[in-house]
Subunit: 565 residues, 2 copies
């Protein structure tokens, strides 16, 4: 789609009709902050005319509408949308997200380099410009069994791929500060290149030490004060609003025109239900402006400032010579896309149909053996037992302690106090680990729910009241090659297959969205009180988030960073 220089010059000067002209609208000039009435002329993948009148071989009347640069999601895990990159493209590009900078951290934890390769192959086909950061922390910790190990030697072959930007979120910040050799080898290899940060609550001189290693961005700020320290220390702040972590309200004070050159937006993890109900980055933009942020600051963060932070020098403004990633919105406040153009191509279902499919990978990634109900037994013991306390809408958990009731020789659930069983079962075919524990806060009164999405190692996670139902749910995951399952009274009442590495569906996003609604209802019928039971289940094994978690190796006291049983 890239045009020849003679065509670009001829169409830019208006000597010949442009390939495409958006007529009679206006554009938001992110340099001056002005709304400028103008046609927009496009030749191939590039804008060639603004601030003037143009004739086009194709013309689209956009009277009353406003053109803004395509939105850039600066940090996300496509896997969290539960669909393949191709379906993510089809789902999210129509909201105006023309560039997505993803970290294939989830699939890399299951499949290693094969997963990264799948994302890169997909990125070469998507209409949206999907860029890939190389997952820096696989496995995330030594406290769990992941499906792969990615030392620096495994990342280097991808380094110069045209879709690769740099090293993905360096979440092992204790490893950096402790000069862990595996961490340093990765950081060393990317000195002079781009290295994304991930350093929740890191402050003061420790933050300085982390930054001295050449790390440049952060999407983990949860307060304006934290963000202000980090931005003052040269970090580009990626304001995040996902399905799980929602920081926009807290970071509103930094969404100013002055700081805007150093801001970007991201979703990190966003599920298909939220996308369908609220939108994607357009939702963030709308919400930020509704809350009082200046449109100039917000749209800069969504495009030009994001592009500059990641070295994407060809995009982020509506100006001649720039990449024709454009969103035609109803209004700056509405941010609702009437038309989207990706590298000059009008985004339509027909356009998506032109993509070459990429063969899915990891279709046999659920390798756990058959599980018997007896495997969920926890021997009764006197005294208090550690229980994971789930907090609605948060991935942080509490470390609680309870005296559990005896059920024969076993420790039993305590429905009166909303305490049920939780188990994590290794599913990469490596060691067959199975760890049991208890969790409070799901609300389940019967049955079980299970998932092969369990951050970051993505082993089987199951919570339930009944061991038979738990075994059935876990075993069903093996049959459907991964996914989510709800079991009630010995019967699977809802399920979704996620056969791509046990993380992503092979179905269209609409079907995934609808099935998720069915699943949610089925979970509610078990008594689930959490708004997002599968998301909260998926974060129970994440041993880098305080305070008590469970991996296939057992309960993890995150504060002490050790296994406790």
């Amino acid at each position: 789609m890239s045009a020849s220089l003679p065509d670009l010059i001829d169409q830019g000067t208006g000597r010949v009709p442009a390939d495409l002209v958006l007529k009679n609208g206006r554009f938001f000039d992110l340099v001056t902050g002005d709304l400028v009435s103008s046609d927009i002329a496009i030749c191939g993948d590039r804008i060639v005319g603004t601030c003037g009148r143009y004739a086009g071989r194709e013309e689209i009347d956009i009277s009353g509408l406003t053109v803004v640069p395509g939105f850039i999601d600066t940090h996300l895990h496509i896997e969290s949308s539960l669909v393949t990159p191709h379906e993510f493209d089809r789902c999210v590009l129509p909201y105006g997200v023309t560039t997505a900078i993803c970290d294939p951290h989830e699939i890399a934890n299951v499949l290693g380099a094969e997963g990264i390769r799948f994302f890169l192959d997909s990125a070469e086909q998507t209409i949206m410009d999907v860029r890939v950061q190389l997952s820096s922390c696989v496995p995330a910790t030594h406290l769990e069994t992941s499906g792969a190990d990615l030392p620096i030697e495994a990342l280097l072959p991808f380094r110069n791929h045209p879709k690769v930007i740099g090293l993905a979120e360096f979440m092992n910040f204790p490893g950096v500060l402790h000069k862990d050799p595996v961490c340093l080898a990765k950081l060393e290899a990317f000195q002079g290149g781009h290295i994304d940060g991930h350093a929740p609550l890191l402050r003061g001189l420790d933050l300085n030490g982390y930054l001295s290693a050449g790390i440049r961005t952060d999407h983990e700020c949860t307060s304006a004060e934290e963000a202000l320290e980090k931005i003052r220390k040269g970090m580009h702040i990626l304001v995040r609003e996902g399905s799980v972590s929602k920081d926009l309200h807290a970071l509103l004070p930094i969404l100013t025109e002055r700081l805007s050159p150093f801001l970007a937006l991201c979703t990190d993890d966003r599920n298909p239900l939220d996308i369908a109900e609220e939108g994607h980055l357009d939702f963030m933009i709308r919400e930020a402006i509704r809350l009082g942020a200046a449109p100039l600051a917000v749209y800069r963060a969504a495009s030009i400032s994001a592009a500059r932070a990641f070295g994407l020098a060809d995009r982020g403004l509506v100006a001649p010579g720039w990449r024709a990633d454009l969103v035609v919105v109803d209004s700056l406040e509405g941010a609702r896309a009437a038309h989207v153009f990706a590298a000059g191509r009008r985004v339509t279902e027909t356009l998506f149909a032109t993509r070459t499919p990429v063969a899915p990978v990891g279709l046999d990634s659920v390798k756990a053996g058959r599980i018997e109900p007896s495997a969920f037994a926890v021997p009764y013991s006197d005294g208090e037992t550690s229980v994971i306390g789930v907090l609605p809408g948060k991935i942080i958990t509490e470390h609680r302690r309870f005296q559990l009731p005896a059920k024969g020789n076993e420790a039993g659930a305590d429905l009166g106090r909303d305490i049920i069983k939780v188990a994590v079962i290794e599913r990469h075919g490596l060691n067959g680990n199975h760890a049991n524990g208890f969790v409070q806060g799901f609300g389940l009164k019967k049955g079980a729910i299970a998932s092969t999405v369990g951050h970051d190692s993505h082993n089987i996670c199951v919570v339930g009241v009944d061991a038979d139902d738990m075994a059935l749910a876990a075993n069903r995951l093996g049959e459907i090659k991964g996914g989510f399952v709800v079991v009630e009274d010995g019967r699977v009442t809802a399920e979704i297959a996620l056969p791509v590495a046990g993380l992503m569906s092979l179905e269209p996003y609409e079907s995934v969205r609808d099935t998720l609604q069915t699943l949610r209802k089925a979970a509610f019928s078990l008594g689930a009180t959490l708004q997002e039971p599968f998301l909260q289940l998926a974060f129970l094994p994440l041993p880098v988030i305080p305070h008590l978690k469970i991996s296939d190796r057992g309960l993890v006291d995150v504060d002490r960073f050790m296994l406790i049983g």
Copy 2:
């Protein structure tokens, strides 16, 4: 000087003393606009600590002073300083210019690739970070004889040199608009890379056509209105204040905080006298603030915004992990450097002494044969003769017409109307061209002045009242291998040798500066009324600047872009 990651991390966290600490000062945070009281810790070439207190193995007390990021001159021709890159380094770095993005256009016009190689070799030695743009328009036009021709094939071998950024100022904008194949080949090769612009007064749809070719910067804006159109069209505007072209006052209205992410500063051409008397970029900063520009806007333009425009992602902020290019100034308004640090090294004479010299090139570049006084004869003719009208302090000239007096069979000078002779003599040993004409406005009443600096082909330029003196001056240039010469009454009264390609001295800048003062006095004693007679002489042959110029091929009507005799 680059430190190891363990050292960077240890020193950043303050666990061990930093290599160097600037104590008790404050820094100008270009993100928030705050003046922050803080030590600045440096490890190797990198800042590792801000917003805190640090101990250092070396400590410098900067009480009462303010740290700002090193200044970046985004477009200049080092040759205009008349000294080698090594001497430019020694002369200008102490003013706080830690990065200079140069276009070796002058030496390239004399020596071709050898000249570019000399600059790259020098750039590897200088303390200042000298970056090189590849001269895009050599020769500048077909209306003159330059010493070299640099088609795209000659530039490509330099493309991936670590000191090369991209393609230098694409001044042949008519060639772009007319799709000249030589121009397009160069632009094509640098698509996706950086291409500097140069498009004085280009506006409207023609500007759009030029920009559509992927050109991204402009340093030729001479009015705020022009700059506003260009910045709105996505150009990064390099505000220029040189010895010849001075745009700062006119562009003051765009030096705002809002536009600051899209601004930079440059000097283009700045001579050693101005540097000694006023300073360099520090002068621009001081002057801009004195005229009312916001310090935040000015310092951003001088550093972070400039760095971003040229993809220099490691510099431009005082923050951990960033390159330790620092200027310790008396105040934001003063911008006078008390200390300068270049990649963590304190700038001193001792530091300059550590550089490896680079062997000069082009020491025999003045290849014109011996010139007889008779060669300056212009046959008398009835009717009016075209005369170049010089305007004090401007490189633009007027096309004037006069009836000249007869002197025998020859047309003579007319001192009453300040009209004297001008000649350009090819000096690259290619064709021996010699063109004569008349010029008005120099003020000379006797003698001659001559130069081997004559933009852009750098042939011998001589103006004078007396043919004998003109011949002596021109011949003397051959003897001293290029330079400036003043002749009065058959005697050389002042001269400076510029033996490096006939453009640069081999002497220290202090000696060059002093000799230039002597030269200026000698020119004044001939009656010269122009403040900068050698600069104005040097721009007489530049056939891309309106309206009447003279090359070795004859008078050039720039408006019609043709030779007229």
